[in-house]
């Protein structure tokens, strides 16, 4: 069960970092560079949550309802914080 989340964690931060660096490099030339940087940072920040979502889904598939409920609780907590921070 740990293989997929492990891969997501590794690739997610590398991808996020690469996009952020690309955004910084093209900052002087392209108008949408700030958006690219924001996407890069967002990918980094959301990587652990994506890995957790995978664990949540895998737990459900394996009928491990204990892990499923707890991981869902964490995801809900984080999602609520995202919604509050965006709209407040």
């Amino acid at each position: 069960m740990a293989k997929i989340p492990s891969t997501i964690l590794r690739l997610g931060v590398v991808l996020g970092l690469a996009i952020t660096i690309a955004g910084i490099i093209v900052q002087q030339a392209v108008d949408i560079a700030d958006t690219i940087i924001s996407y890069g940072l967002l990918i980094i920040v959301l990587t652990p949550i994506t890995a957790l979502s995978t664990i949540c889904m895998l737990s459900l598939m394996k009928r491990d309802f204990y892990n499923f409920t707890l991981s869902l609780l964490i995801i809900i907590t984080i999602l609520v914080s995202i919604i509050i921070s965006v709209y407040k």
């Binding site: 492990s6 590794r10 997610g12 955004g23 910084i24 920040v45 652990p48 984080i78």
Partner: protein, 256 residues
């Protein structure tokens, strides 16, 4: 600006090196370094440090997960309250005056440095010697203590591993290696919860994230390779003294 980034990059190599040997996430060094050496606003430093912690802990926990060292059941049990604590902590920091945040960070760093120095001068590791608390409410106690770890993470931009590992060892009775690996996995999630709030408020400095992340990764690799040659206690003493200096300067800056 470029000079600042170069200093940040070089500092991050040092932070990564010390963190790998001392067995910590690095947040407790990153924030004081950015505030005291480079004059960053403390809230920007905290936000930037949190994003950088995600990079470092995700890289480490991907390896720990693959090796089966992470106790997922414990991580998932403790993380909801930790994540909640991180979100609450981030909002507390955003609403508090800078002086108060500096005072809290200064006091926490002072506590961590004194605790580390005490551990160094004890002949055997206290983490190995103590037995976990045996009581029916140990899980409840662990969950409550995790909320405080999350609160400190969200408030002060540290990973919270310094608090999470003792919770898992003393209260839940996990072996130290499993506790460190599980804490590393949890640190990413906790930092993510707080990081989202700071990112939405536009407090994360992307250039600093890149400079720190690119410095910490080779620094930590170098530290891990040198671990066998250096005495861990020597590094811990150096680390404690750096923290002691940082906390003194942060607390002193409140009165000047």
């Amino acid at each position: 600006m470029i000079l600042d980034l170069v200093v940040l990059f070089l500092g991050a190599i040092g932070i990564g090196f010390v963190s790998a040997i001392a067995g910590i996430g690095g947040g407790s060094l990153m924030v004081p370094f950015m505030v005291l050496a480079l004059g960053y606003d403390i809230k920007v430093a905290i936000a930037t440090s949190l994003v950088c912690i995600i990079v470092v802990s995700s890289s480490a926990s991907s390896i720990y997960l693959r090796r089966g060292l992470v106790d997922l059941k414990t991580a998932l049990l403790l993380e909801p309250s930790t994540a909640l604590g991180a979100v609450v902590g981030a909002y507390i920091t955003l609403s508090l005056p800078v002086r108060v945040v500096k005072a809290i960070l200064g006091l926490l760093l002072l506590y961590v440095s004194i605790t580390m120095l005490r551990r160094v001068f004890k002949k055997k590791s206290s983490l190995k010697q103590r037995t976990p608390i045996q009581q029916p409410y140990s899980k409840l106690l662990g969950v409550s203590a995790s909320f405080l770890a999350g609160l400190s993470s969200g408030m002060l931009g540290i990973g919270g591993g310094v608090l999470k590992v003792p919770i898992m060892v003393f209260i839940l009775g996990l072996p130290i290696k499993t506790a460190v690996a599980t804490s590393s996995f949890m640190v990413g999630l906790t930092a993510s919860s707080g990081g989202v709030v700071y990112l939405a408020k536009g407090l994360v400095n992307p250039l600093s994230v890149v400079a720190l992340a690119l410095g910490i990764i080779p620094g930590a690799t170098l530290g891990a390779r040198c671990m066998g040659r250096l005495k861990p206690n020597t590094i811990r003493i150096v680390f404690s003294l750096i923290l002691l200096y940082a906390s003194t300067r942060l607390l002193y800056s409140l009165f000047t």
